[in-house]
């Protein structure tokens, strides 16, 4: 009987606009974007130009420092633009879809699935980046030998999609093949983490080498970093790999059908969505194809991902590589008269300093206002309440700001990623940019260790 790890620390932000359990069908975007900025630490080197014709699964760019890791087109079509930002940094490669042709990577029979074959398929098809690693929360290095592999089978972030619902509407065979294939990368063993009471375990419990873990508790109980910390923590010099369950199904399809077709079920959520529901879409697809007429007019922020860690996109921007969710919330660029002094019945807060804390069930329409100015660290003991790890977040952040490598190691920099401390950033009364500090610390460690 698998045990349930019960987490108490954490916090669920009660937002309006959770997706109803309804499939709205497939979104058929014309434009697709592949964004190097989805992969922290990546220095992309382009293999295509504007106007190049590509098949689904054909290379668009590769990692300059690890050239075997390539990034490929989700569809057949033509590269219509390559958007660049400051200092000519590549922001997105945009492909216009034409037809359905795809590169044939060859079908793999169940008994042919070996470590070598799986690695080969992942790297050749551009699907390798679904495997990420701790430490550093970056795309895994194919030459490493991980001490274990985790697959995240649920999401606890605000308005997150329901994985049980996704599985009900998916081809389970793809998932099973993908999980089995991944287990080959870790000596035939794989950890699947599910939400407490999830029915999904029955789909997978007979896969050889699988170990299913259950987690309960508020966000961030669904973060891979939290799972790894509680089951098989990363120490200095060790590497643990992890992937998302939906991404694993793309691997399953690749092996079964021989094509790269990164299809996912995505939840459209947020208070500004008229009809929050689920859509089937290929990774990188333009969200305009399913968002357009389902959003309330106004000054809105479109986010690929959730409100804590997602990426800000245009209303016709592209779904991020790792995202299974699009969130639309109102912008908050307004002045509020004596806002800090009001009783605050409608002001949702982690702290109990507003009257809203008397209504523990209400859901809120929250906007992007900062609600204050940046200050030094003053209040203590708050971050710890939302980080279910044996880690002192404030001390770790201070070590990063001081660039004290040894202290960062000691305080657990190898175990955390931005997303694990995203709630700390949300509730910080001093409005400190915690996620960028964490990433700065990780970048510093990568530089120091290479």
């Amino acid at each position: 009987m698998p045990r349930t790890i019960k987490l108490k620390k954490g916090f669920d932000i009660r937002l309006k606009g959770v997706a109803g359990k309804k499939m709205a069908g497939s979104a058929e975007p014309d434009l697709f974007g592949v964004k190097p900025i989805d992969f922290p630490g990546l220095t992309p080197k382009l293999n295509v130009k504007e106007g190049s014709e590509v098949l689904a699964g054909a290379i668009l760019f590769h990692d300059k420092h690890r050239p075997e890791i390539i990034y490929t087109s989700p569809v057949n079509g033509r590269v219509v633009s390559i958007e660049r930002g400051e200092r000519r940094k590549i922001l997105e490669v945009v492909i216009e879809k034409r037809g359905n042709e795809a590169i044939d990577f060859g079908k793999t029979r169940h008994e042919e699935i070996t470590e070598e074959r799986v690695k080969e398929s992942l790297l050749a098809s551009g699907l390798w980046p679904i495997i990420r690693q701790r430490p550093y929360h970056i795309v895994a290095n194919p030459h490493d030998i991980p001490k274990s592999v985790f697959v995240t089978g649920f999401d606890s972030s605000p308005l997150s999609p329901d994985y049980d619902f996704i599985l009900e509407n998916s081809n389970i065979s793809h998932y099973r093949t993908g999980l089995y294939a991944l287990s080959k990368l870790a000596n035939g063993r794989i950890n699947l983490v599910l939400k407490e009471k999830s029915g999904a375990g029955s789909y997978f419990s007979d896969i050889p080498g699988i170990e299913i873990h259950y987690f309960s508790g508020p966000h961030p109980s669904g973060n891979p970093g939290i799972h790894i910390h509680h089951i098989d923590p990363v120490n200095k010099g060790e590497v643990v790999w992890f992937a998302n369950l939906q991404d694993v199904s793309i691997l399953g399809r690749l092996l079964e059908e021989g094509i790269y077709k990164p299809e996912k079920i995505v939840a459209l959520t947020g208070s500004e969505v008229i009809n929050p529901q689920y859509y089937r879409i290929l990774s990188g697809g333009s969200v305009a194809s399913f968002v357009a007429d389902n959003v309330r007019p106004g000054n809105n922020r479109y986010i690929s991902g959730n409100v804590l860690t997602g990426t800000r996109i245009r209303s016709d921007g592209y779904l991020g590589y790792y995202d299974s969710q699009v969130t639309v919330i109102p912008e908050g660029n307004y002045h509020e008269f004596f806002g800090w002094a009001t009783p605050g019945i409608g002001k949702f807060s982690f702290s109990r300093t507003f009257l809203s804390s008397l209504f523990p069930r209400k859901e809120y329409r929250l906007d992007t206002n900062l609600h204050g100015g940046e200050r030094a660290f003053v209040v203590t003991g708050q971050y710890e309440k939302v980080l279910p790890m044996d880690i002192y977040p404030m001390q770790l952040l201070k070590a990063i700001l001081a660039e004290d490598i040894e202290m960062m190691e000691n305080l657990g920099i190898y175990e955390v990623a931005e997303e694990d401390l995203a709630l700390c950033e949300y509730l910080c009364p001093s409005k400190i940019e915690i996620q960028s500090i964490v990433r700065k610390g990780i970048d510093l460690m990568i530089k120091e260790m290479s």
Partner: protein
């Protein structure tokens, strides 16, 4: 409100970089953000942020201080009229006391905020809210007969040398309010000890009623006049001489309830201080070598600034221990030291101030040991794994 907003928008360019009054930018920003929560939106990281900020946090502390302020006003009047032998009503007493404290509060804020504004402008930072609380705490822990110039000097000392030289709110080692009190205590001991300074007008000594001494319970204890102590109930309610806001344990407990209910003040520190005081009080009771040690331990909680220090001073998050386990230890040691200094050191009738300032110094050390234990757990994990893999 809208017209105010428009005026501010019109004025803003003059105070921005390159404007005529750009030297006053911090002051303008401070005033603007005081009246209007800024329209800034999230740029990177989390797209939504909590409604709480430091202004809100500080406001809660000020609300928690109000009962002590109100009762202090009443008690100051009450003590004054007692000293001159006049019967007075509640409102008369309150009115007198409030008018006495008002100049203290005004001077404290003018001097303190003035320095904060200048410091923020020099650094090019936004103005920090920390002084909103400190500025009210300082008058509440002063004897009412302290001259205003002395208060102004103490505030300047506390803010400049206690806080700004360290980098402002969040960077200081010592509790600034206590530093202000310590400044007066050591520089002008005559104004912080003895029997006359605690009652308004008693220092001047005009028309004093016969038999009124103005001695605080703590000074009675030190001078061995324990038989003259007010009743426990009187000290609990707070109708006794003492610093302005410290006398009423009831008012302080209401404040503590506000701080704990909102989560702004650490209940662990408060419980730690009372726990430490209890432990030391019981120990002294057990030894009972003199009359003061024999005094039941619970009297210690209602005399002097013990309760006020536990609830409002020890809980300052910047100068306290910052780890949760550390907070227990920090609070406990403050409680122990407060009573220890009080009872065993005749030079200092009140030990709370010195105990907290001393523990401010040791708070980082406490945190160091707490964090080291987490680091050791992490290192041990590696060793255990190496062992198991060798098998």
């Amino acid at each position: 409100m809208n017209s105010l907003r428009k005026t501010l928008d019109k004025l803003k360019p003059h105070f921005s970089k390159g404007g005529r009054f750009s030297k006053l930018q911090s002051v303008f920003d401070g005033m603007e953000s005081f009246m209007f929560v800024p329209d800034k939106v999230t740029f990177s990281g989390s797209h939504i942020r909590d409604y709480t900020d430091l202004k809100r946090t500080m406001t809660i502390v000020i609300i928690a201080l109000l009962p002590a302020l109100l009762f202090g006003s009443y008690n100051t009047g009450l003590q004054h009229f007692r000293s001159v032998g006049i019967e007075s009503g509640i409102f008369q007493s309150f009115g007198y006391g409030f008018l006495r404290i008002l100049p203290f509060i005004i001077v404290s804020y003018l001097v303190g905020l003035g320095i904060e504004f200048i410091a923020a402008q020099i650094r090019g930072h936004e103005i920090n809210e920390g002084y909103l609380v400190t500025g009210l705490l300082i008058p509440l822990i002063m004897p009412i007969d302290v001259p205003l110039w002395m208060l102004a000097l103490a505030v300047a000392f506390a803010v400049i040398l206690g806080k700004e030289v360290f980098g402002g709110t969040g960077m200081n080692t010592f509790n600034p309010a206590l530093l202000a009190r310590a400044f007066v205590f050591f520089s002008y001991p005559g104004w912080m000890t003895g029997d006359t300074v605690w009652t308004a007008g008693l220092t001047a000594g005009k028309n004093i009623a016969d038999g009124f001494s103005g001695a605080t319970p703590l000074s009675l204890c030190v001078t061995g006049e324990i038989s003259r102590l007010p009743s426990f109930m009187e000290m609990f309610v707070g109708t006794i001489p003492g610093s302005f806001g410290e006398t009423s344990v009831i008012a302080i407990l209401i404040g503590a309830a506000v701080l704990i209910a909102t989560g702004v003040g650490s209940w662990k520190i408060m419980a730690g201080v009372f726990g430490g005081g209890l432990a030391m009080g019981l120990l002294l009771n057990a030894i009972s070598a003199n009359e003061y040690m024999h005094l039941p331990f619970y009297y210690q909680f209602v005399m002097g600034g013990f309760a006020f220090g536990a609830v409002f001073m020890a809980t300052d998050p910047v100068t306290a221990a910052q780890t949760e386990k550390g907070k227990w230890i920090y609070g406990f040691l403050i409680g122990v030291l407060s009573i220890l200094i009080r009872v065993l050191n005749p030079a200092y009738p009140e030990g709370v101030m010195l105990a907290i300032l001393l523990m401010n110094v040791f708070a980082p050390l406490i945190d160091y040991f707490v964090i080291q234990s987490s680091i050791n757990r992490r290192l041990k994990r590696v060793k255990v794994e190496i062992k198991t893999s060798v098998k």
